[in-house]
């Protein structure tokens, strides 16, 4: 099993990542990819950009822990997580997650789990910028509820 989790200042290139992840894969029947994009609005107001603050080293380890936990929890073959930090424009990729598995149920569940963990437990501090100023974000109630689905 190959599990990689990377932090990137540049936007992950989802199509190239997917192609590399698929290449030569003959034992797995299922690949699920999740691409998280920066939206141009939130809570009814326009968003002109995001800033994802991180703590060098610490944030990378939070990504690695989440990816490793997914690999230990589901019967999957490979996991790849690439998460953006720094300034993000609307429409740009924030996160790319790919999971390969022999069967699709495990691939779907692992990707879903990865995103629920990443949206609450990845060590980022997110600022949304809009025409009326900036605000720092916390996980939504929905995010916390999603995460509780996986509690043992």
């Amino acid at each position: 099993m190959a599990i990689t989790a990377l932090l990137s200042r540049d936007p992950p290139r989802a199509e190239a990542e997917l192609q590399a992840f698929l290449n030569g894969r003959t034992g797995d029947g299922a690949v699920v990819a999740f691409v998280g994009l920066a939206r141009d609005s939130a809570g009814g107001g326009p968003v002109t950009g995001l800033h994802l603050d991180h703590y060098a080293g610490f944030t990378e380890r939070s990504l690695e822990t989440i990816a490793a936990d997914a690999g230990g929890r589901f019967p999957v073959s490979d996991i790849r997580v690439i998460h953006r930090c720094g300034d993000v424009a609307p429409g740009e990729v924030i996160v790319f997650v790919a999971v390969a598995a022999p069967h699709r149920r495990a691939a779907f569940e692992a990707a879903d789990y990865l995103m629920d963990r990443l949206k609450t437990e990845a060590a980022f501090w997110k600022r949304e910028d809009g025409p009326d100023g900036s605000r720092w974000i916390e996980p939504t109630d929905q995010d916390r509820e999603d995460l509780r689905r996986w509690s043992d």
């Binding site: 603050d53 703590y55 610490f58 939070s62 600022r127």
Partner: protein, 82 residues
């Protein structure tokens, strides 16, 4: 000797990202919170909040943990997630 301090996220934006706490002794995390609150104007209240956690050399630790003068302390508000 100095303890290097990093304020992350909103706290970095409000209080400045990097600080230095002069110290020649081993302090508890609790003491680091109090001294930082005294030193960084306006930060005392937020530094007592239990959801603001401190990491020593990149590991989140309880308030009873010890900090040596050559270590790095990061002040972590609640994560937004990615």
């Amino acid at each position: 000797m100095e303890i290097r301090i990093l304020f992350l996220g909103e706290l970095g934006a409000r209080f400045g990202r990097e600080h230095v706490l002069e110290s020649t002794e081993v302090l508890t995390v609790q003491e680091v919170r109090r001294r930082l609150g005294d030193q960084v104007e306006g930060s005392a209240a937020v530094l007592t909040r239990p959801d603001v956690r401190l990491a020593v050399d990149q590991t989140v630790v309880p308030d009873t943990a010890l900090v040596r003068p050559d270590q790095e302390v990061a002040v972590l508000p609640i994560y937004s997630g990615g």
